[in-house]
Symmetry: C2
Subunit: 244 residues, 2 copies
DNA sequence: CGCTAGGTTGAATCGGGTCAATGGGAGTGG
DNA sequence: CCACTCCCATTGACCCGATTCAACCTAGCG
């Protein structure tokens, strides 16, 4: 499986209405009728192998992408080659919203494992959302939620110490995984220490050390990328306490 | 002037079509016909005195606001009272996009000087943008631009040193001021060192010290909140160079 | 079986934070 | 008009958390 190297169009019809991610993805709250319309729009899927980019900075913007399976990171880079991971996306989450502003993508989206996305042609989405109020509203909510999420990351980057950042990151990850039916306490990281560090504004050594510290403190069990959360409330307490 | 303490509805009709900010604000790129429709929507203005909030976290979300005159900051805070300035908004910029996701605002918007905003009832904007493609598209672009901006801030917070952050901040400010017809080299800061620090993920003392350093290096002249940029390319060089 | 990418750990360094004292400007009230 | 006050800004000294540099380890893969 996942052995095909080119863009792959699913031979059979894909349908949001029968997708088990519909409660997390664009279709949230849509009526049956609206959903059928959306089905017509989201006609193709695309496979992206681990390490490949779904789109990169400067690419012309045509479509949004909904992650169906797999895991992505997005990263921006400045002229001088500085690099920043701006997010990690898992099933049901949308990629490509950055492209609307300029008709060009302003970040890279890289698959961290073999993944599949649903392709949502943007001009058609705009068209459809003129007709279907609920879809329009849902789409706006998703964009707004991204803005709110970004503000949360700014808070993290601007005011938290390393331990707090990593704890917040882990809690956020597990929460999203739990919403997708996975365990709240055991997880496998799909990204390297360096990628976590970039996202959290830390160096990879600091991330590694902090993992070790959490393990010593009995908060986690860490075996490479396998993490088991032993003391969820303890992590939570780390996050919300200016704790002096 | 600016002596009224309550919300003030302008007695005469306000009109985007005759607003000198139309090239920076929501109406960008709209045809004459679309503009007339927008005029009908944006019927009221509201004055906000220096220090007052336009909205705060938890307030029910009804409207977006376009800054007409004045200057705002937005800030989020975490449960434990940590605080983060997420942006500064000047004439022509939109406030309130965070509220769409939840029907509640998720940040505070505070006027840093006596200000006036145009009130854009959100449900009517959605309605109108179903009818007018250009307006819909422009609105989406503005939301997307906010996301892209936030990613830039993440890059700044995640990977830049204090000097680089402050230089980037000043260049961004002057660029926006210049687009509004102000000088590219002389500016008056509307915010305290502490607010700059919060935005940049630094302490106020660090901001102050960095201003002093820039002055010693001949990059700026700093007199309290009066800043004169003496060496724009020098600042630019600070920003784009991992310089080692 | 050896190579390589990723991860861990230690020691030294340093950038920015913390704490504390001082200075300056704008607004207020006598 | 001046004096008082408050808020903001500056500056110094010290400290600490995170980075840097380096060595070493481990797992996965060809």
């Amino acid at each position: 499986m996942n052995a095909n190297h080119a863009i792959k169009i699913e031979p059979f019809k894909v349908a949001c209405s029968s997708c088990n991610l519909r409660e997390l993805c664009l279709p949230v709250g849509l009526s049956k009728g609206d959903l059928d319309q959306l089905d017509a729009l989201v006609a193709t899927r695309r496979n992206v192998e681990r390490g490949d980019t779904l789109f990169r900075t400067g690419d012309s913007f045509q479509s949004l992408y909904a992650v169906r399976t797999g895991f992505f990171k997005t990263c921006v880079s400045s002229e001088d080659g500085r690099d920043q991971v701006t997010g990690f996306q898992m099933a049901g989450e949308l990629l490509g919203l950055d492209g609307i502003s300029n008709d060009r993508h302003s970040c890279d989206a890289v698959a961290l494992e073999d993944s599949q996305v649903c392709v949502i042609p943007y001009s058609q989405l705009e068209e459809l959302s003129r007709e279907f109020t609920d879809l329009q509203h849902q789409f706006h909510k998703i964009m707004s939620r991204e803005i709110v999420r970004d503000h949360g990351v700014m808070l993290l980057l601007g005011s938290m110490r390393a331990e707090e950042r990593l704890a917040a990151f882990l809690l956020n990850l597990t929460q999203r995984l739990q919403a997708r039916g996975f365990s709240a306490s055991a997880l496998v990281l799909r990204m390297t220490r360096e990628e976590i560090g970039s996202y959290l504004g830390l160096k990879l050594e600091t991330v590694s050390r902090t993992f070790s510290k959490f393990q010593e403190d009995g908060l986690l069990e860490v075996k490479q990328r396998q993490i088991r959360i032993m003391d969820q409330p303890g992590l939570q307490k780390l996050v919300n306490s200016t704790t002096c």
